[in-house]
């Protein structure tokens, strides 16, 4: 009896309230909301559906409150309120007008009952309600939530939203959402086929579970269609995953290239094992940190330019440190490579400890300028801007260095000294000076690498140590004394690493790569691109 009355009341309210706005709508809404207070759990769905049909934006906070269990009914008169708990009392808000309605003790109110079924209904209702929201972001979110937890009952809402939607991105999402919901609804098979086709075209990881769950409930005519779609999506997914791995590999390779390219100069061209190379990278990263600190405090507007300012500074700082190292220590050790290795290791310890004393042992925060943060989608690939910029930067550094070595007088002198020191000296080249400049150049490039690495790695005194072994591996693998070898070595090691990772895990993959390199060196002790001729035995 009560139930019939209630239904009649609904009909009445809907009839009168929906088309009209203003006071009468408000009254209608209030009746609907108050009805929630009396409803049984089993009737909750109907009540929520009725609320949703009003399309009133005020329903959103009410439903949210219901879902979170913050909707209470006053025992005295059955009025329903949005509440906020504060101690033993509840702060009440009128659900319709949104005005404060004072406070009341908890005992005077009873909570509107919710269970998981109700919560699910609330979520669906909220999804379809916000689909029509004037705010683009809210619509996008709503479309996504429908897509993630599709519900056949929301189909109508999705379709009406689709009819009204103008924004391209939201439309695309809505179409997918419609196809998804359509598959689980009781629409005719023809429409479903259309939906499968659409999902297949769009592809994407989300489509897989939708289609496979639809496969279970689909009838015979639809099954082959869905299976074909699944297979095709899986195939493209695998392709994209491989592509993503290549991308990660390129990204890792560019990092390795940056770290190793300075080493290729000092080790490859001069034959000096600089164990402090990683610390040069670290100094470059700390230069970036200092530049950003100054900019943040004094010229916040220039923050986006911080890396452009830090690059030449880092080059100068680490170049100067390298020059001092060469003049102060290394030049006395030429011809004794093992001793050079030990001395530079000692210098690396001193540099690390100095930085630790000055800046502290903890990680320092280096921010990303706006043009380096965020990501974009390219087909099925997610590409972050900072990785992209680092790849481009590494290639630019490589090209510049190649140009310097091949086309400038300084490069000519450097190559001459490498190939035949005494002959170069007797032709009037100041070989000690060339040595010093070459070493400074290698160190300076390491500093610039540090600027780039500060964007993707933790800036701490140990930053350099993580790269030193990897960069040695790159140079040794690629072949000493050949920049192209370094390039190929860096990218092939990067990609190999990332392809091993899914099968072997990150650590085991790295171990495998190390073992492979050790084996490789047995086979070709001079690396991929070995120098031929007299330079070999030098």
């Amino acid at each position: 009896m009560y139930r019939i009355l209630q239904t009649v009341l609904f009909a009445l309210v809907l009839f009168t309230a929906v088309p009209n706005l203003g006071l009468r709508a408000e009254e209608g809404l209030r009746v609907l909301v108050n009805a929630l207070g009396q409803a049984k759990l089993s009737d909750m769905d109907e009540h929520i559906a009725a609320l949703t049909k009003t399309g009133d934006p005020k329903v959103v906070p009410i439903l949210e409150a219901l879902g979170e269990g913050n909707l209470y009914a006053r025992k005295a008169d059955g009025q329903v309120f949005l509440t906020k708990e504060s101690g033993s009392t509840l702060t009440l808000t009128d659900p319709v007008t949104g005005e404060s309605a004072g406070e009341a003790p908890k005992t005077a109110l009873s909570k509107v009952k919710v269970n998981n079924g109700v919560r699910r209904a609330v979520r669906t209702a909220l999804g379809s309600l916000t689909l029509l929201s004037p705010d683009r972001g809210a619509r996008l979110k709503a479309a996504q939530s429908v897509l993630q937890s599709p519900n056949a009952e929301a189909l109508g809402a999705v379709e009406s939203a689709l009819a009204a939607e103008k924004d391209g991105e939201v439309r695309a999402l809505l179409e997918q959402a419609r196809a998804t919901t359509l598959l689980i609804s009781d629409r005719p098979a023809e429409e479903k086929k259309e939906a499968v086709r659409l999902l297949r075209e769009k592809g994407g990881r989300e489509a897989l579970p939708i289609l496979s769950s639809a496969l279970g409930s689909a009838d015979e005519t639809l099954k082959p269609e869905i299976e074909a779609a699944l297979a095709s999506i899986e195939q493209t997914q695998a392709l994209w995953a491989a592509g993503q791995n290549v991308w990660y590999g390129l990204s890792l390779g560019s990092v390795l290239l940056l770290a190793a390219i300075g080493l290729a100069i000092t080790f490859g061209v001069m034959g000096i094992i600089n164990m402090a190379h990683g610390e040069m990278v670290m100094l470059g990263a700390y230069t970036t940190f200092l530049v950003q600190e100054v900019l943040r405090n004094s010229y916040p507007g220039l923050f986006d330019w911080s890396l452009a300012i830090a690059l030449p500074l880092a080059f100068l700082v680490t170049g100067a440190v390298g020059l001092a190292m060469e003049r102060g220590v290394i030049r006395f050790l030429y011809g004794r490579p093992l001793e050079t290795m030990l001395a530079t290791w000692g210098i690396s310890l001193i540099l690390q400890q100095s930085v630790r004393t000055i800046f502290g042992p903890t990680n320092r925060e280096v921010g990303n300028p706006s043009w380096m943060s965020g990501a974009f989608e390219l087909g099925g690939l997610t590409i972050t801007w900072n990785r992209l910029w680092i790849i481009l930067f590494a290639l630019a550094v490589f090209a510049a260095l190649l140009f310097l070595l091949k086309k400038t007088p300084m490069g000519l002198q450097m190559r001459a000294v490498t190939q035949n020191r005494r002959m170069a000296s007797s032709m009037g080249i100041r070989t000690p000076w060339v040595d010093a400049l070459t070493f400074a150049l290698g160190s300076g490039i390491a500093g610039m690498a540090g600027v780039a690495l500060s964007q993707i790695d933790n800036v701490s005194p140990n930053l350099g140590q993580g790269y030193i072994i990897d960069s040695f591996m790159v140079v040794v693998f690629g072949g000493v004394g050949n920049l192209w070898g370094t390039l190929v070595g860096a990218f092939s090691l990067g990609i190999l690493n990332k392809f091993l990772e899914p099968y072997a895990g990150a650590v085991l993959g790295k171990i495998l790569v190390l073992v492979l390199i050790i084996l490789f060196i047995q086979k070709r002790p001079r690396g991929l691109f070995a120098l031929k001729g007299r330079a070999v035995e030098a």
Partner: protein
């Protein structure tokens, strides 16, 4: 044959050092165990363990000297052999805990119970027996060095390339031992030992015995290495260090000789690690840290490479300095160590012992006025290349 080996190996300096080591092996435990704690000559137990630790380091440095000082192989991965020997000993000690672990499992060590493993991995079998573990202490590092060296020397990887790949080797092992599913305790390593050969590992007597064992092992290794480098074989080793191609052209199988020295050296490092672990009570993957191996090189360099007793003195000096320094000015230890690397390579390329021998030889030559043979000339390393 053995007597001739011994006679050749024991020249005066070596004999003196061996005698000192044997005396220490008796004296320190005696002073620790037989004097009252307030006696002025009493050696507290922590000091016994500390000195024992230095002796194992000295053994490691001696092992490195055999390959670096006499073969010209600068291994930057010797700490890996040390750690492997240590792990073999650690596994024995773990099995000795038995059911006294916090989980009380009679078979599985605590960390395996924690990882929810049901049975002992195959490579843990046999480590409940001391003789097996002792064999593994020598075999595992030896085998690794043999395989690694066989590949490396056969394809003539030498000089800095060899150094870099030995460093890569220890780095790879570091990463591997950090993994929990390797079955070696992961990050935490092996610790919480209770017994060794049935004796309580914390007891004063055990500590003193371990010290004595370390001193004996060092003395024995010193005699063996000295015998090796003073034999005809050792002379060829020095020859290949100074002019590898020439030695090869003379018909010696250079790679075989290097491989022998490298393997023996790795085994010695393994023994050092095995003695180290019960005295410090823990072994973890940090021992594989590439920096550790390089530190061993500096001990050897400070003492003097190619002198055999130099590395022993160097290891004790540097580590003693480290203990004092890190207690007094912890901030500055790395500065001091880094400075040591630079200063020793620049100003003391022969190390303390090498330089002292050099001066002694010069004075003797001066006194004799006519040029007598320099006895220690054999061991004096030339600048590479």
């Amino acid at each position: 044959m053995i007597t001739s080996f011994l006679i050749k190996s024991l020249d005066r300096t070596i004999l003196v050092v061996v005698a000192i080591l044997l005396a220490l092996a008796l004296l320190i435990p005696a002073l620790n165990l037989m004097t009252a704690p307030d006696h002025p000559l009493h050696v507290p137990t922590y000091l016994v363990s500390l000195l024992g630790k230095y002796l194992t380091y000295a053994l490691l440095a001696l092992a490195l000297d055999l390959v670096w000082g006499f073969c010209g192989i600068l291994s930057l991965g010797h700490a890996a052999f040390f750690a492997l020997g240590g792990y073999a000993m650690g596994m024995y000690l773990m099995r000795q805990i038995g059911a006294r672990g916090s989980y009380g499992n009679p078979l599985l060590p605590d960390f395996m119970v924690f990882l929810n493993w049901k049975e002992l991995p195959w490579f843990w079998h046999g480590f409940d027996m001391f003789w097996f573990a002792a064999l593994m202490v020598v075999l595992v590092p030896g085998l690794l060095a043999f395989v690694f060296g066989w590949f490396a020397f056969r394809s003539r990887v030498n000089g800095v390339y060899l150094s870099i790949i030995t460093q890569a080797m220890t780095y790879a092992l570091l990463l591997a031992f950090f993994r929990n599913d390797m079955g070696f305790g992961g990050n935490n390593g092996l610790t919480d030992f209770k017994d060794i050969l049935g004796f309580n590992i914390q007891a004063d007597g055990t500590r003193a015995s371990l010290f004595a064992a370390s001193a004996l092992a060092l003395a024995l290794s010193l005699v063996v290495t000295s015998g090796i480098v003073r034999s005809k074989f050792g002379k060829v080793l020095v020859a290949l260090r100074d002019a590898e191609s020439r030695t090869r052209f003379l018909g010696y199988r250079v790679e075989h000789m290097k491989l022998f020295a490298f393997t023996v050296s790795a085994m010695m490092a393994g023994v050092a690690g095995a003695l180290y672990v019960p005295q410090v009570g823990i072994i973890n993957p940090g021992e594989f840290e590439p920096g550790n191996s390089i530190e061993v090189v500096i001990w050897t360099a400070v003492g003097g490479r190619g002198t055999l007793i130099g590395p022993i003195i160097g290891a004790i000096l540097v580590n003693g300095g480290k203990s004092i320094f890190t207690a007094a000015f912890p901030e500055f230890w790395l500065f001091a160590l880094g400075g040591l690397f630079v200063l020793v390579t620049l100003f003391l390329p022969k190390g303390v012992v090498g330089t002292a021998q050099h001066y002694l030889a010069r004075r003797r030559a001066h006194r004799a006025a006519s040029g007598t043979q320099n006895e220690s000339g054999l061991a004096e390393p030339m600048a590479a290349e």
